[in-house]
């Protein structure tokens, strides 16, 4: 691989060609703030918070979108850069609902994190603020566009990861905002509620409806698990407070799915604590379901299967397996059907 030598903050560094300034700085342990950048998504260069000074350049450049070149001299925290970052943060909070005390994203909000880091307590810009109604018309996502900083990650993740392309930018200038077609509500769009947009939103603009008032972000314990819904085997973190699941968060270290989840994985966890959930096998006795032990239930099944096979022959039996089972479980179903029941009548709901 071709290597490129450059100087960042006076220190020489060597990185593979094609590396961005932001990535090169990261390798040296220099943290450059970013709101619109996310690994795995295309770089928009939109928030401008990651700007750095490159010697000889006409203006500051977006480090997230600029590849390193040989001999490049970069300053990541020069006075001009710091002034630009502080001003940009001030501009962002000038048009942002200041309800951090009750904001669901508090503790995970990137805007708050950078304002803290750069000492931006308040904005010197007074003027119009957006006053959009908060969208709560769907069961999964709360959209508060008054907190949107237009990083555009929701637009890109929907296009580039989910492939659903629900979101785009509407209007111009100050009134520009990400929105589904016709600036309609999500329920009216072809949104599949996978919630990728919520996972990547850096502020409280997009939050999980089920998590409202269920706990502050720092109180939640993350428990990595595998999704029980299908055989894909997506991993994610359960967000747990007081031994109760309150939500699901993407875990980018997941090998199978990365950030991506579907509506079931991200929002379909509420059955866990449902009181009506069946916790033991039930056997119907005198028209009533009665709780039974697993031994009792399995013995009954084995006896009845045997009976059917003997009376009507192996081909009277068929097995239909579920996409919710793992590969190993599916293997066992077909093995059981062929070897034990003696028939090839085996099928799977996900067969195409």
């Amino acid at each position: 691989m071709e290597m490129v030598k450059l100087i960042i903050n006076g220190k020489e560094v060597e990185v593979p060609s094609g590396t961005t300034i932001l990535e090169a700085a990261e390798q040296m342990g220099i943290n450059i703030p970013r709101l619109c950048y996310m690994k795995g998504l295309s770089s928009a260069g939109a928030c401008r918070l990651c700007v750095v000074e490159v010697k000889g350049a006409r203006a500051l450049v977006a480090s997230c979108a600029t590849a390193v070149t040989p001999g490049m001299e970069v300053q990541t925290h020069s006075p001009d850069v710091m002034e630009a970052r502080r001003t940009i943060l001030e501009l962002l909070i000038a048009n942002h609902t200041p309800d951090c005390l009750t904001c669901e994203k508090m503790g995970e909000c990137k805007l708050a994190e950078y304002c803290y880091e750069y000492g931006v307590k308040e904005s010197s810009f007074k003027g119009e603020k957006h006053n959009y109604p908060i969208e709560t018309s769907n069961p999964f996502i709360v959209r508060d566009m008054n907190k949107c900083i237009l990083c555009g990650k929701c637009v890109r993740v929907c296009d580039e990861i989910t492939g659903q392309n629900v979101m785009g930018f509407a209007y111009r200038g100050f009134n520009c905002k990400p929105a589904p077609f016709y600036d309609d509500e999500l329920v009216e769009s072809n949104c599949v509620f996978c919630g990728q947009c919520v996972a990547v939103c850096p502020t409280g603009a997009l939050t999980e409806k089920q998590m409202q008032k269920k706990g502050r972000r720092w109180e939640l314990e993350r428990v990595k698990t595998t999704c029980p819904f299908c055989g894909t085997g997506c991993n994610f973190d359960l967000l747990v407070k007081d031994n109760q699941i309150v939500g699901v968060a993407s875990n980018p270290t997941s090998v199978v799915n990365g950030y991506a989840l579907c509506v079931k994985g991200r929002f379909g966890w509420d059955f866990v604590h449902n009181e009506k959930r069946i916790k033991t096998p039930l056997i119907k006795k005198d028209g009533q379901f009665v709780p039974a032990s697993w031994d009792e239930a399995l013995d009954l099944i084995a006896a009845r299967f045997k009976e059917i096979k003997e009376k009507y022959g192996p081909d009277s039996f068929a097995a239909l397996s579920s996409a919710r089972c793992t590969n190993e479980e599916n293997f066992l179903v077909q093995k059981f059907t062929r070897a034990v029941m003696g028939t090839n009548n085996v099928d799977h709901c996900a067969r195409t």
């Binding site: 770089s43 928009a44 260069g45 939109a46 928030c47 401008r48 918070l49 700007v51 203006a59 500051l60 977006a62 979108a65 600029t66 590849a67 001009d80 002034e83 630009a84 001003t87 940009i88 501009l91 962002l92 000038a94 048009n95 010197s124 810009f125 007074k126 003027g127 119009e128 900083i149 237009l150 555009g152 785009g168 930018f169 209007y171 111009r172 200038g173 100050f174 009134n175 520009c176 905002k177």
Partner: protein, 617 residues
């Protein structure tokens, strides 16, 4: 390879036959049509028919003198062409009676004459000596107002498509070298050397390349590209063909704003004519070079004039700029190497190829070669289109060509480069204009719009106007432009309403610096220029608004204080009788007074006063 010799010979004869007849030509650019040119043409047709005259009736585009549209040209066979200004249908009968029937021009309506080889008329200014044209050169605009823009006969007869013919017999690198030698720089505003840009695309290795023309002219007060497209569409096509051949592209797009329907119509016509003549399409003139041009109409976003937003728009995406690098020369339209030039740049190319880079480089300054088309508008006597050599001074443009300030008022500033440009004050009027001198003044060359302002213009109000424009047109992608222009506009609005504070000026300066330094695209990076330059050259006006709560030019309504000058007031009572709120009182023949509590600043009283006794400053 085939050549155009035969067809050119035929068209030259045809063109000469047309010029050899008694002719009436009406200027039908958008400016002429807006001023009533079509009605004049209709009146001429009817008058000629009713008199049974054998006269060739033709039309052309804008000759540049927009201030006296509709323009009509009359030429008798073998006599000079006389160009009349301000011709309305009512004047047509007399014009034809005198000039065509009695062979005597109507001297009092004549603006200029173009004698050609004929002896000039006495008493009518010859074009080259006429103040409006004396300091102009006519190269890119040479056919404007002189040929029929919808006729490929006129184009070929006047040397059209000689450039592509010559180019197709030339080595590609040699063409690029010729463009480099000419010193041509992008006429859209950026001023990037055209030859260098072509070289990048030529060097880029790809099986598909594009030549794209930026015809999304959007600056307020700019209509250079429209005039060229409406007046000489074939020259733009020819320029694109030469570029396409040189860089190895086989497809071109013209991105033209939909607000230019006439330009789009004439372009479509020109493309169809060029295709019929085998000048566009497969295997052009049997040279093995194929090239097609498509037109994409823009949907009205100013930011689509920014090259990467333009490319997104052609691709069907929202017109939002992309991060650069990669530059379009490497990854342009559909990620393929793309040359992107504006209308005027392309229109220059056929001339450079025909006459050579050295010929072109003779004109202009050290760093900015050739000529530039400007549009002069605002408080100047002669508004219109002009082509001048680079290096001419603003004073020459405004006072010699433009004829000075309307109503003999004092010149205050000229705004160059539209919303991305800056306001240049009187002290810099003698600066020779080129890309670098204008940038040094805090303005930009831009595409060539010049808006002249006089003493009655409030510079804070001007800055507010442009910021309102950029805020509305900001695509919203990057924070500094989207949020910053909004806050700058709000500050300017507060200052104009008398609610500004001195700290606001520091805030404006900080925002100007940060936005210029950190915005994503050219639109964002240059949008603070109107504020930065007015703050630099007219700071006292800002301070007057803030400290004295006074608008020196008397423009900002909230700061107007209507007062009656005692020494001028005769006590006639005309103002009091017309005041809708009864704010003016006074005894007969005694100076009147205005009660500022009751005054709603409607301004009704001012034109009613015959003695100029009411002031607002």
């Amino acid at each position: 390879m085939k050549n155009l010799d035969q067809i050119r010979q035929k068209y030259v004869e045809q063109y000469r036959r047309k010029l050899g007849k008694d002719r009436i030509v009406v200027g039908l650019g958008t400016c002429g049509i807006a001023a009533g040119g079509n009605k004049v043409l209709q009146a001429i047709k009817e008058e000629v028919a009713s008199r049974g005259l054998d006269v060739e009736i033709d039309f052309t585009s804008c000759i540049g003198m927009c201030y006296c549209e509709p323009v009509v040209e009359i030429a008798l066979a073998g006599a000079p062409s006389v160009i009349y200004g301000n011709i309305i249908p009512d004047k047509v009968a007399k014009l034809i009676e005198s000039h065509i029937v009695n062979k005597t021009p109507v001297y009092e309506w004549a603006a200029i004459q173009i004698p050609g080889e004929a002896a000039p008329y006495e008493g009518i200014s010859v074009m080259e000596k006429f103040p409006y044209y004396e300091k102009q050169v006519r190269s890119v605009t040479s056919r404007l107002g002189r040929t029929n823009p919808e006729s490929i006969v006129d184009y070929i007869a006047t040397g059209g498509y000689e450039g592509i013919e010559k180019a197709l017999q030339t080595d590609k690198q040699a063409i690029i070298d010729e463009i480099k030698k000419s010193g041509l720089r992008g006429r859209g505003g950026g001023g990037f050397p055209t030859g260098t840009k072509w070289q990048f695309v030529y060097d880029a290795q790809d099986d598909k390349k594009y030549a794209v023309c930026n015809a999304d002219e959007g600056d307020p007060g700019a209509f250079m590209d429209r005039s060229v497209l409406e007046g000489d569409p074939h020259s733009v096509l020819e320029g694109m063909m030469i570029a396409g051949y040189a860089i190895g592209a086989d497809e071109g797009y013209i991105y033209c704003r939909a607000e230019y329907p006439l330009a789009i119509r004439r372009l479509n016509l020109a493309i169809a004519q060029a295709e019929e003549h085998g000048l566009l399409g497969d295997n052009i003139l049997d040279s093995g070079f194929s090239f097609r041009i498509k037109i994409k109409a823009g949907a009205g976003a100013f930011v689509c004039g920014e090259e990467t937003a333009l490319l997104n728009s052609i691709e069907g995406e929202r017109g939002m700029p992309r991060v650069r690098p990669p530059f379009p020369a490497n990854k342009g339209l559909w990620q393929k190497p793309t040359v992107l030039n504006n209308v005027e740049t392309y229109a220059n190319v056929p001339f450079i190829i025909r006459y050579g880079g050295d010929w072109y480089a003779k004109m202009g300054t050290e760093t900015s070669k050739g000529s530039k088309v400007f549009c002069l508008t605002g408080k100047v006597n002669n508004t219109g289109l002009m082509e001048v050599p680079m290096g001419i001074t603003l004073r020459d443009i405004i006072f010699s060509i433009g004829g000075g300030i309307q109503g003999g008022k004092e010149f205050k500033a000229v705004q160059s480069g539209g919303p991305s440009g800056g306001c240049i004050p009187a002290e810099h009027l003698d600066t020779p204009i080129d890309y670098d001198s204008l940038t040094a003044l805090g303005a930009i060359m831009g595409s060539g719009g010049l808006v002249v302002m006089d003493e009655t213009t409030c510079m804070v109000d001007v800055a507010k106007f442009f910021l309102n424009f950029t805020q509305n047109e900001s695509c919203g992608k990057c924070t500094p432009c989207r949020e910053g222009t909004k806050r700058m506009l709000e500050i300017l609005q507060r200052i104009c309403e008398g609610e500004g504070e001195l700290e606001d000026l520091d805030t404006l300066e900080r925002l100007c610096k940060v936005i210029k330094n950190s915005a994503l695209c050219g639109l964002g990076q240059t949008c603070p220029n109107p504020i930065a330059t007015t703050l630099k050259y007219f700071r006292s006006e800002y301070e007057a608004h803030i400290i004295d709560k006074r608008c020196p030019a008397g423009v900002c309504t909230a700061l107007k204080v209507y007062t009656i000058l005692e020494d001028k007031c005769t006590g006639c009572g005309a103002c009091a009788r017309n005041c809708p709120t009864g704010a003016i009182t006074g005894a007969k023949k005694e100076p009147h007074v205005i009660d500022t509590e009751k005054c709603i600043k409607c301004g009704t009283c001012i034109p009613k006063c015959k003695f100029d006794a009411i002031t607002t400053a």
